[in-house]
């Protein structure tokens, strides 16, 4: 393996972490903004909800039951956590790509913030934190809807909310890191080219066993690890592998955060 690829995170992760003091101020700022634009918040919730309803109405009866961990579940019980995880991903990516690009290139917001005692690490973690809060809100709304539709198979479902927030953290970090490399709005056309395959091929719609010899590739999808976590909580079926899933998501979050803060420093503190 390329030693540079390994040593870079080792070098920048500690510096980025050490510079963090009050990221919560960025969340406070977002709260001011959303106080007037709360309708925007709602929009992010409807898309996954529509998916869920359409599957509940039609697809479920067609597909039949699914067996996991020695128990059988209806197809909509199986799909719902996958959709919840995907919603967390989409919300976070949305919040931390186009929005962040606008703030870096056009609104000069971060330049103003960096002229105060706030650091690039504060800005990055604060913006990512805002996305995590949003993911959490969506997850709660989604969980309540699932419960109302009778799709909650286990009381452990409450753990799906922190799981969705962790997914939000991971994708917000990666999305923000990626955004710092973008040069123009055209580059954002690649974002769905990444998130759509992840959405389709992360055991969202069918279990890992269906992937056959391609199963190993599914493991490369960060969303897969998130789906597994949410599903384990929702169905109340899990084993030691969830430690691995958590570790992957936390690791990616930290690297994404460090890259994002380092890049913001590079771009704005010239």
């Amino acid at each position: 393996m390329n030693t540079h690829a390994v040593s870079l995170p080792l070098r920048i992760v500690p510096t980025a972490m050490l510079s963090i003091r009050r990221p919560q101020r960025m969340i406070e700022r977002s709260a001011y903004v959303y106080r007037r634009g709360w309708l925007i918040l709602l929009s992010g919730f409807f898309e996954p909800l529509l998916y869920l309803l359409s599957i509940r109405v039609g697809l479920s009866a067609l597909v039949g039951d699914i067996e996991m961990g020695g128990r059988t579940f209806s197809y909509d019980e199986f799909v719902a956590p996958g959709l919840m995880a995907a919603a967390a991903m989409n919300g976070a990516v949305f919040e931390c790509t186009a929005n962040v690009f606008y703030k870096i290139k056009h609104s000069k917001l971060y330049e103003a913030v960096l002229a105060t005692p706030m650091s690039a690490g504060d800005v990055a973690l604060g913006e990512i934190g805002g996305a995590v809060v949003r993911s959490g809100l969506y997850a709660i709304a989604f969980a309540i809807t699932m419960w109302a539709l009778g799709l909650v198979a286990s009381p452990w479902m409450v753990l799906a909310i922190p799981a969705a927030m962790l997914i939000g953290f991971t994708f917000a970090s990666l999305g923000m890191a990626l955004t710092t490399f973008m040069r123009s709005w055209e580059d954002f056309e690649y974002v769905p080219a990444i998130t759509l395959p992840l959405f389709l091929f992360s055991t969202t719609f069918y279990p890992l066993s269906q992937y056959g010899e391609w199963a190993w590739m599914v493991g490369l999808s960060p969303l897969y690890h998130g789906v597994e976590l949410v599903r384990a909580a929702d169905l109340g079926v899990w084993d030691g592998s969830i430690i691995g899933h958590i570790a992957v998501l936390v690791g990616l979050s930290v690297v994404g955060l460090a890259v994002a803060s380092r890049r913001i420093e590079r771009l704005l503190l010239t």
Binding site: R21, R22, R25, E28, R29, Y32, V33, S107, K108, L109, E111, A112, V113, L114, A115, T116, P117, M118, S119, L268, L269, T270
Partner: protein, 326 residues
């Protein structure tokens, strides 16, 4: 209003007092962008309570210097100390003790005037309650009470500038950096701003101001440096620079576009120095009227003639051979 560990000079001193520790000290300060040198080894010392100016045309390196002082741009070479601290290691603390009005407003366009001040104060870790009180006081100070709850997008250029100034004061800064505070404003808005800056100076805040307006530098600065091509070409008080480099008065004469230079031989011996511009001649003399009488005596009749006091613009012209604007 402004507390500091330094002895505030409160604008009483025109020259640096040697036993006061400087707020800003730069030695051979350099800023490079790739191969391009924007600031080429400048030395500056600014004492507490002083209003200090960087005067120079576009591209002189004023903003680059201000950004280094503001700890948002790494120093390429040389020494820079602010509050006796090192920007590369103590940037956070330094930024916490100063206020910055950047060349282009960086207001939070998604927020109202009051919210801009509130959240900005929060970045300095000021309690929400203190932020609110301070924000109201500052909005009053810059006379924008009726715009308190308007989005900043809807404000005029001059009003935005005033919000920027108010916002930069939210943390009671010991040091205020103002990068071209009045560029792009109409004369009335400029005078309002000058008045506010003058009041702040009275209260003891150290100010660093960049400008390419001579009258602004003369109005606001106790001391200034003239910058050109990344270097300091002159230093002193506005009046000191004028008496040191040029005569007290200027006679401006016009003979028609392109015909000014031809008149030089006939003007030999008039004034102490003559500067040729495409559209006019500038004749420097301690007594401009006497120079004009001399023209009349020699029966030289320009299209127009005007006697005025010399300004920093003339100093700049003499030092660089160029005018400041354009």
């Amino acid at each position: 209003m402004l507390e500091s560990g330094y002895v505030a000079c409160r604008g009483l001193c025109d020259t640096p007092v040697m036993d006061v520790r400087p707020v800003i000290m730069a030695r051979s300060l350099v800023k490079r962008f790739g191969d391009f040198t924007a600031v080429n080894g400048i030395d500056v010392e600014i004492v507490p309570g002083e209003a200090f100016g960087f005067l120079g045309p576009n591209g002189a390196g004023k903003t680059s210097t201000m950004r280094m002082i503001g700890c948002v741009s790494p120093v390429t070479d040389g020494d820079l100390r602010i509050f006796d601290l090192d920007p590369s290691t103590d940037g956070r603390e330094i930024r916490g003790r100063m206020g910055v009005v950047p060349q282009l407003d960086q207001l939070d366009t998604e927020l109202t005037v009051a919210e801009n001040l509130l959240i900005y104060g929060r970045y300095f870790d000021i309690s929400r309650r203190d932020c609110r009180a301070k924000a109201d006081e500052l909005i009053e100070f810059v006379q924008l009470a009726e715009k308190r709850d308007s989005k900043v997008d809807s404000l005029s250029g001059g009003q935005k500038r005033r919000v920027s100034i108010a916002r930069s004061l939210i943390n009671d800064p010991e040091l205020l950096l103002l990068d071209e505070p009045t560029t792009g404003l109409d004369p009335q808005a400029r005078h309002v701003l000058w008045d506010r800056l003058y009041q702040l100076k009275e209260r003891g805040a150290t100010q660093v101001i960049t400008t390419h307006f001579m009258d602004e530098a003369e109005q606001l600065c106790d001391r200034l440096v003239v910058m050109d091509g990344g270097e300091i070409v002159a230093e002193g008080s506005p009046q000191g620079l004028i008496t040191e480099h040029i005569r007290r008065e200027v006679l401006e004469v016009r003979f028609g576009y392109g015909r000014n230079e031809q008149q030089l031989p006939a003007l030999d011996g008039v004034g102490s120095r003559i500067e040729v511009l495409p559209d006019r001649l500038l004749i420097y003399d301690d007594d401009g009227d006497a120079a004009l009488s001399e023209l009349h005596r020699r029966e030289i009749v320009p299209e127009s003639a005007l006697v005025r006091r010399s300004s920093l613009e003339d100093v700049f012209l003499k030092l660089t051979g160029r005018t400041l604007i354009e």
